[in-house]
C-alpha cells in the first residue's frame, strides 16, 4: 500500500498514519510519501504540534455553534486543536507522534518530497530520522507494485 500524505492539519495527519500502521500490522509493504503541507507531519518536533482549524469546516464539533466570523478570530484554532486532542486522548487514540514511531518501528517506508522541501525552504536536517528523500518517480515505483494507493 502507498499513501500520499499532502495535508498538515491534525485531522488530516491521522488517516495516513492509522492506515499505514494498520496495514503494516497486516503484513503489507507500506510507503507514505509526504508532500506539500503533509511535510509538517515529519518535521522535527512538529508531530504533536499540528493544529486543526474550525474555519471553513461546518462539521467541526463545537460545544456551541460558532459563526464563521467568530471562527476566524485569534485563539479559535488553538481552542479547536486543544478540544480535538482532548477528545482523542479521552478515547484512547494514539497521538500523531506515537503513530509515527509505530510506523517506523513496523517498517513503514517514509519518503519526504524533495521538491516541496526546496520550494518551502525545508532542509533535510529539519526532517525526523528514518525518512528517505525523493520525488514522484520514487512514489510511482512503490505504487506500481502496490494494490492500494491513496491520496490524502
Amino acid at each position: 500500500m502507498t499513501i500520499i500524505s499532502s495535508k498538515g492539519s491534525l485531522d488530516m495527519a491521522y488517516p495516513p498514519l492509522i492506515l499505514a500502521t494498520t496495514a503494516a500490522s497486516m503484513d503489507f509493504d507500506v510507503t507514505i510519501f509526504f508532500t506539500f503541507y503533509g511535510l509538517d507531519i515529519i518535521k522535527k518536533g512538529m508531530a504533536d504540534k499540528l493544529k486543526v482549524s474550525p474555519l471553513g469546516n461546518p462539521a467541526m464539533p463545537m460545544p456551541v455553534p460558532i459563526p464563521t466570523l467568530i471562527a476566524s478570530l485569534p485563539g479559535m484554532e488553538v481552542m479547536a486543536t486543544a478540544m480535538m486532542k482532548s477528545m482523542f486522548n479521552k478515547h484512547g487514540v494514539a497521538s500523531i507522534g506515537t503513530l509515527l514511531d509505530l510506523a517506523k518501528e513496523s517498517g513503514v517506508k517514509l519518503i519526504a518530497c524533495q521538491m516541496t522541501m526546496d520550494v518551502m525552504g525545508v532542509k533535510q536536517s529539519d526532517i525526523i530520522s528514518g525518512v528517505e528523500f525523493g520525488g514522484a518517480a520514487m512514489w510511482l515505483d512503490a505504487a506500481a507494485d502496490a494494490q492500494i494507493n491513496l491520496f490524502i
Binding site: 492509522i18 500502521t21 494498520t22 500490522s25 497486516m26 484512547g92 487514540v93 494514539a94 509505530l102
Partner: protein, 80 residues
C-alpha cells in the same frame, strides 16, 4: 468461561481506540510461537470486526470471541 482454551499470553487493550488494539495484537502475537494462544481484551466496539479482518489477512485464527459489559475478549491462535 473458556476453560477449554489454554491461553499463553494476555493482552490488555481496554480503553484503546483504533488502531492501537490491532497494532498491539500484532506485536504480541509476534512474541508467540505457532500454535500458542493470545487472549486480547478490548473495549473498542470496532475491534470486533477489525480483529476478524486482521486475523484473516495475517493467517491467524480467532478461536473465540466473548462479549460482555462493554468488553470484547478474543482468543487468537497464532497460525502463521
Amino acid at each position: 468461561m473458556s476453560a477449554d482454551i489454554k491461553v499463553d499470553q494476555v493482552l490488555d487493550a481496554k480503553g484503546l481506540s483504533c488502531p492501537l488494539p490491532i497494532l498491539k495484537t500484532k506485536k504480541a502475537i509476534e512474541t508467540l510461537t505457532k500454535g500458542q494462544v493470545l487472549k486480547v481484551e478490548a473495549t473498542d466496539p470496532g475491534s470486533k470486526n477489525d480483529m476478524a479482518s486482521w486475523a484473516k489477512r495475517t493467517g491467524n485464527e480467532v478461536l473465540k470471541v466473548e462479549e460482555g459489559s462493554g468488553t470484547f475478549t478474543f482468543y487468537i491462535k497464532k497460525s502463521a
